[in-house]
C-alpha cells in the first residue's frame, strides 16, 4: 500500500510485511519497494520488530552467485562435490524410487530428516505420512541443554516459552548469550535501557553486545555454574531471597529422604501420593500446598511405617550444595574475583534482576546444570512471571501440522493417520533430548538400535552445526541415500546424492506463531519475489510432498495432495489450503473472525491474540512439573538418574588445557552470523573469520595480528591453519572462533566467495561429547597452538 506520496513529486513507496528467515527468529520486517530500489526495514509495531545485518543483506542472498540453481545428481565420490544438473522430474522420481526401496527393505523408520528452523512445522506431517518418527533437528548443539533445564525446573518447553521481560526489566544478566537474535528482544531491551537498566554479560569473549555500555565478565569456559551457585550462596547467606515465594510457589520446603527421594503420604501410611512438607504453624508434616507455614529449614526424623526416616527440606539441601561455592572458592574455579561475585549477587537480588534462560547454548557438556542454576537464581529472588522478570509466554495456540495421539496421528487437514510404530532413534538413548543428532549418526554407522539408511537434510548445515566431524563423514558414507534441500552450498552438499534448490524466505509466504514475544501472536510473511533468472528453485514443502506422492501416491492422497500439484504452478493452491486450515483453527481457538485475521496478517504482518498477563504461573496456574511448582529440586532429573540439584563439574566436553600452548577454543554467534548470512558479500567484511587471541597470549607466543598459526585438537588430533585476530575481546588462555562462518570446504564455493574458506570450523576440533540423558553436545574444545 502507498504509505506516503507527495503530490506525485516523490516516488511512491510500498511496504509489504514479511518476517525474516535469515536466522530462526522470524523478526517482523517490511519489504520496501520504491521506483528505484528494493530493501528491508523493520516493522515497528510488530510484536517482534527486527532487524540486523542479516535481513538487511537478504537481497544478496536472493541474487547470490552460489545459489543452487538446478537439481543436482552426484557423479563423483561422496565428499567430492562433483555433480551433474538433472531435470526436476528425473531427480524426484529417482529419489522417490530409492526411498520406497529403503522403506520396503528396512522399514519406514530408516528414513530420517534433519532440519533447522525452516520446514520445522511441515516435516512432522511428511514424516507421519511416510511412517517414520525420525525428524531430528539442530537442538543437540542449540537449545537442547536449556530446554531440558526449563523442563526440569519450570515444566516449560523450548526457548521462547520462557523469556526475560526485556521491555520492563531493571537488571539483566546474560550468561554465554549475546542477544544475537531475536532483534525484537534488543529493540524492547532498548526501552529498558532508556530507563536505566543495567546489563551484565558473562562470557569468555566479548560478544558484539559488549560494545555497548554493559559490564563484561570474562569467565573461564565451562565454569559458569560455579559462579551462579556462588551467587546463590551470597543471596541465601545475606537473606536476600524471597522467602514467601520459595514457600508458596517452589518445592523448597519439600522434605527429602536420605536416599534422595521425596517423602510422600504413602511413606506415612496415608492415602495419596502427595509430597510432604513440615508445617511450622502446626508442627506437623503436611502435604505440599496444605501447610499454613511450610518450613524452609526443617531437618529431623519423621516416623514412618517402616520406622523413623531422616529428612531435610530441599532448601537445606540447596544450602549444603551452594556452600561448596563460597565466593573465594568459586573465584578459583571461574577466574572471576570474589568481590565481583558478591557484588553481582547483591545487585541482582536488590535490583530484582533477571538472568536470561538460554537459547543457542550447548558449549561445554555441563550446560544442563548451568541452566538449572540460572533458573534457580531467578526463583530465589521470586522474579518469576512478574513484570520485568523471567516470564512465561502467552501461548498462541498455533496448531501443529500433526498431533501424535496414542492410537492415531491427527493432521491439520482434518484426516488422521496411523500411528508410527518406532520410537525416535535419539530418544532411545537421550530421553530428555529435544534432538540428539549424534544418535542418528550412530544408527547410520552401526545399525543400532535400528538402521538409518536415508537422510534428507533440509535447510541446515550439519558440518558446521554438529560435534564430531569424522563421525558425520562416516555416517554420510554409510547411508544408502543422502538428499539435500537448500539454497546455498553448505559443506554437506558435497556428500549428497541429490541436491534440490529451495526458495529463500522472500520467495514464499509463511504463517507462524510469533516466537520471541511474551504476547500471544500470529505472524505472516508475504511472498515478495520470485527466484531470480536462472534459479529454478522450488518450495521445500512441494519437494517433500512430491517425494511422498511419487513413492506412495495413496499416502499423499490422504492429505489431498494429488498428481495435480506436480504442476508446480498450481502448488500455491495447496499452500493456501493449508493456510486456511490454520486460520480456521485459530479463529475457532480464539473466537475471532477468520476474515479479519487473514486481512490483518496479510496487511500488517501480525495479529496479537493476547497481551502478556503477569503473575499467572505458578501463582494461579500449575506448572507442568510433577509438583506443579518451580522445582529447585528437579524430580524429572531424579527420575532420569541425574543429580536433582545443579552442581558444577569440570567440563566433560574436552580435556582441560595443560601446556602453555594449549587453549580453550570457544565458539558462538553474533548478529553477523547465521548459516546463510555468512555466504553474503556483506559478511565478507562484517564477519570476522580469523580466530581471536588475547594480546598477552600473542605476545607470549610471539605472534601478531593477521599471522597464520596451526591449531590442533587436543582430543582428536585434527589440525588446521588459521589466521589470528589479536584482540582484547577474548580472555587470556582462550581462543574464539565464530560458529558457521569460517572453514567452509564445499567444492561448489567459487571465487570471489572463497573468503568462506578462511578461518576454521570449530566443530573440527570437538571431542564429540554428548551429555547423557539430555543429549547436549559440547561445541567447545581444547586446542594446541603451533607457530
Amino acid at each position: 500500500q502507498a504509505l506516503s506520496s507527495n503530490g506525485g513529486q516523490v516516488p511512491v513507496i510500498q511496504r509489504t510485511p514479511i518476517y525474516c528467515g535469515a536466522c530462526g527468529s522470524k523478526c517482523g520486517l517490511y519489504f520496501v519497494r520504491t521506483e528505484n530500489s528494493m530493501y528491508i526495514e523493520p516493522n515497528p509495531n510488530h510484536p517482534q520488530p527486527g532487524m540486523c545485518a542479516r535481513p538487511a543483506s537478504a537481497l544478496q542472498i536472493w541474487s547470490h552467485p552460489l545459489r543452487l540453481r538446478k537439481p543436482l545428481k552426484r557423479v563423483g565420490k561422496r565428499g567430492e562435490g562433483k555433480f551433474e544438473e538433472i531435470d526436476w522430474d528425473t531427480a524426484l522420481n529417482e529419489v522417490a524410487t530409492k526411498l520406497k526401496e529403503i522403506a520396503d527393505k528396512y522399514g519406514p523408520e530408516s528414513i530420517a530428516f534433519t532440519r533447522h528452523d525452516h520446514m520445522s512445522w511441515h516435516l512432522p506431517l511428511i514424516a507421519a505420512l511416510i511412517g517414520t518418527p525420525n525428524v531430528i533437528g539442530q537442538e543437540e548443539t542449540c537449545h537442547g541443554a536449556s530446554t531440558a533445564a526449563r523442563l526440569a525446573v519450570l515444566g516449560a518447553g523450548g526457548p521462547p516459552s520462557v523469556d526475560p521481560d526485556y521491555k520492563n526489566l531493571s537488571y539483566l544478566i546474560l550468561v554465554g548469550r549475546n542477544l544475537d537474535a531475536a532483534m525484537g528482544s534488543v529493540r524492547l531491551l532498548s526501552i529498558a535501557r532508556e530507563a536505566g537498566a543495567k546489563i551484565v554479560v558473562i562470557d569468555p569473549r566479548a560478544p558484539n553486545l559488549a560494545f555497548s555500555s554493559v559490564e563484561w565478565i570474562p569467565i573461564l569456559p565451562g565454569t559458569d555454574t560455579a559462579l551462579l551457585l556462588s551467587m546463590a550462596y551470597v543471596i541465601i547467606n545475606e537473606g536476600l531471597y524471597d522467602e514467601q515465594f520459595l514457600k508458596r510457589y517452589t518445592n523448597a520446603p519439600m522434605l527429602i529422604k536420605q536416599d534422595g527421594s521425596p517423602l510422600t503420604q504413602s511413606d506415612l501410611g496415608q492415602q495419596g501420593g502427595a509430597y510432604m512438607v513440615y508445617d511450622s504453624a502446626s508442627n506437623e508434616v503436611k502435604p505440599l500446598g496444605a501447610a499454613a507455614d511450610p518450613s524452609l529449614m526443617y531437618e529431623g526424623d519423621i516416623q514412618t511405617q517402616s520406622g523413623p526416616v531422616h529428612v531435610k527440606t530441599v532448601f537445606r539441601l540447596l544450602i549444603e550444595r551452594v556452600s561448596k561455592y563460597e565466593p573465594r572458592k568459586a573465584a578459583e574455579i571461574t577466574g572471576v574475583p570474589p568481590d565481583t561475585i558478591i557484588r553481582l549477587a547483591r545487585e541482582f537480588a536488590t535490583r530484582r534482576g533477571v538472568i536470561e534462560d538460554g537459547w543457542y547454548s550447548a558449549r561445554n557438556g555441563n550446560d544442563f546444570d548451568m541452566y538449572r542454576a540460572i533458573l534457580i537464581l531467578n526463583t530465589l529472588i521470586g522474579n518469576i512471571d512478574r513484570r520485568g522478570g523471567l516470564c512465561f509466554q502467552e501461548p498462541a495456540k498455533f496448531p501443529n501440522s500433526c498431533t501424535v495421539g496414542p492410537t492415531k496421528i491427527d493432521t491439520i487437514l482434518g484426516v488422521s493417520l496411523p500411528p508410527v510404530k518406532s520410537k525416535r532413534v535419539d530418544l532411545l538413548k537421550y530421553p530428555l533430548a529435544v534432538s540428539a543428532f549424534d544418535a542418528l549418526l550412530d544408527a547410520a554407522i552401526t545399525g543400532s538400535p535400528y538402521p538409518i539408511k536415508a537422510l534428507i537434510i533440509v535447510g541446515t548445515a550439519p558440518f558446521h552445526r554438529d560435534v564430531n566431524t569424522e563421525k558425520l563423514k562416516r555416517a554420510l558414507e554409510a547411508l544408502d541415500l543422502v538428499v539435500t534441500i537448500d539454497i546455498l552450498p553448505q559443506d554437506h552438499v558435497d556428500w549428497s546424492d541429490y541436491v534440490f534448490p529451495d526458495l529463500m524466505f522472500l520467495e514464499r509466504s509463511e504463517i507462524s506463531s510469533a516466537p520471541w514475544t511474551l504476547d500471544a501472536a500470529v505472524i505472516f510473511s508475504n511472498k515478495v519475489l520470485d527466484p531470480p533468472p536462472g534459479v529454478d528453485a522450488r518450495h521445500a514443502f512441494w519437494i517433500l510432498l512430491e517425494l511422498v506422492r511419487r513413492a506412495w501416491p495413496d499416502k499423499a492422497a490422504l492429505i489431498g495432495y494429488t498428481e495435480k500439484y506436480s504442476d508446480y504452478s498450481l502448488f500455491e493452491q495447496y499452500e493456501e489450503l493449508i493456510l486456511y486450515k490454520i486460520l480456521d483453527y485459530l479463529s475457532r481457538a480464539w473466537n475471532i473472525s477468520k476474515e479479519s485475521l487473514e486481512k490483518e496478517l496479510r496487511e500488517k504482518g501480525y495479529y496479537v491474540l493476547k497481551r502478556k498477563s503477569y503473575e499467572v504461573k505458578p501463582y494461579k496456574a500449575r506448572l507442568a512439573t510433577p509438583t506443579g511448582l518451580v522445582e529447585i529440586y528437579s524430580l524429572v532429573a531424579l527420575k532420569h538418574g541425574l543429580d536433582p540439584l545443579p552442581d558444577w563439574r569440570p567440563p566433560p566436553g574436552y580435556s582441560a588445557p595443560k601446556e602453555p600452548n594449549e587453549f580453550y577454543l570457544i565458539t558462538g554467534k553474533d548478529q553477523t552470523v547465521s548459516g546463510h548470512f555468512v555466504f553474503t558479500w556483506n559478511s565478507k567484511y562484517l564477519t570476522e573469520r580469523c580466530v581471536w587471541m588475547n594480546p598477552s597470549d600473542a605476545e607470549r607466543l610471539g605472534v601478531k595480528d593477521g599471522d597464520v598459526i596451526v591449531i590442533e585438537g587436543v582430543d582428536n588430533g585434527f589440525s588446521a591453519k588459521t589466521c589470528i585476530r589479536v584482540t582484547n575481546r577474548v580472555r587470556p588462555g582462550v581462543l574464539f572462533s565464530y560458529a558457521f562462518a569460517g572453514g567452509h570446504v564445499s567444492a561448489l564455493i567459487q571465487p570471489p566467495y572463497d573468503f568462506l574458506r578462511l578461518g576454521v570450523n570449530p566443530q573440527w576440533f570437538t571431542k564429540g561429547y554428548v551429555a547423557p540423558v539430555v543429549g547436549a553436545g559440547a561445541t567447545n574444545s581444547v586446542v594446541r597452538v603451533r607457530i
Binding site: 528494493m38 530493501y39 538487511a56 532483534m183 548478529q671 562484517l686 589479536v726 584482540t727 575481546r729
Partner: protein, 188 residues
C-alpha cells in the same frame, strides 16, 4: 533555521551491522561490487573496531555533515555543496571525479564509486528521498538498539535535540575546525 544532524549512541550500539548493510541495500541496490576506497562494502558507514583498548569499543563513522565542510571548500566545480538545511551534498552533474574532496575530508567519509564515477557519501539517493518524504534515513530507521537519530538540532523539540540535551556526547576531530554535526553519544 533548520540544521539537520545525526546522532550515534556509542553506549547503545551493539555493532549488529544493520545500518551498514541497510545503507548498502537502500542506497546501493545490495551491490556486491567492491568499495575499493575503503576495502569495504558499498555503504556510507565505516566500522572501526578499537579492540586493543582495555574496553573493546566500536566506532561507526560516516559523513559528519560539517558546518565548515572541507570537501566543499576544495571542490573546484561547486559539485559539493551545503544545502539550506545543513546537509552536505553532491551535484553529480558538476562533479568531474577529481577526488579532492576525498583527500580533504579528515574523516575519510567519502568513497569513490566507479559506477557513477564520483565520490559518494552519506546521504545516499534513497535516504535523500526518504527525508524528502518526511521519513528517517535508512540507518536510523533500521537500528534495533535505538542507537541512532536524525533531525533538526535547531528545533529544541526534535527527538535528536531532546536526546542531546540529556546525554553526554563528543564530536569527532573537533580540533580540525569542521564543526561536525555527527554527535557521538557516550552515555546519559
Amino acid at each position: 533555521m533548520t540544521r539537520l544532524a545525526f546522532l550515534w549512541d556509542q553506549s547503545r550500539c551493539i555493532s549488529c551491522g544493520a545500518c551498514i548493510a541497510a545503507c548498502n541495500a537502500g542506497n546501493y541496490k545490495s551491490s556486491t561490487s567492491s568499495n575499493i576506497s575503503w576495502n569495504w562494502i558499498r555503504t556510507n558507514i565505516k566500522r572501526i573496531e578499537l579492540d586493543r583498548s582495555i574496553r573493546p569499543m566500536v566506532l561507526l563513522v560516516q559523513c559528519q555533515q560539517c558546518e565548515n565542510p572541507p570537501c566543499v571548500t576544495v571542490c573546484p566545480t561547486g559539485a559539493s555543496y551545503k544545502d539550506s538545511e545543513g546537509l552536505v551534498k553532491i551535484n553529480y552533474r558538476l562533479c568531474i571525479g577529481c577526488r579532492y574532496c576525498m583527500v580533504a575530508c579528515p574523516y575519510q567519509a567519502r568513497w569513490f564509486d566507479e559506477e557513477v564515477w564520483a565520490p559518494v557519501k552519506c546521504m545516499g539517493e534513497e535516504c535523500l528521498e526518504r527525508i524528502s518524504r518526511g521519513e528517517r534515513p535508512i540507518c536510523v530507521a533500521v537500528c534495533p538498539a535505538n542507537a541512532r537519530d536524525f533531525g533538526d538540532i535547531d528545533d529544541p523539540n526534535s527527538s535528536i535535540s531532546r536526546r542531546l540535551a540529556e546525554s553526554r556526547y563528543v564530536k569527532l576531530l573537533e580540533n580540525v575546525g569542521t564543526d561536525p554535526k555527527y554527535y557521538v553519544v557516550v552515555g546519559p
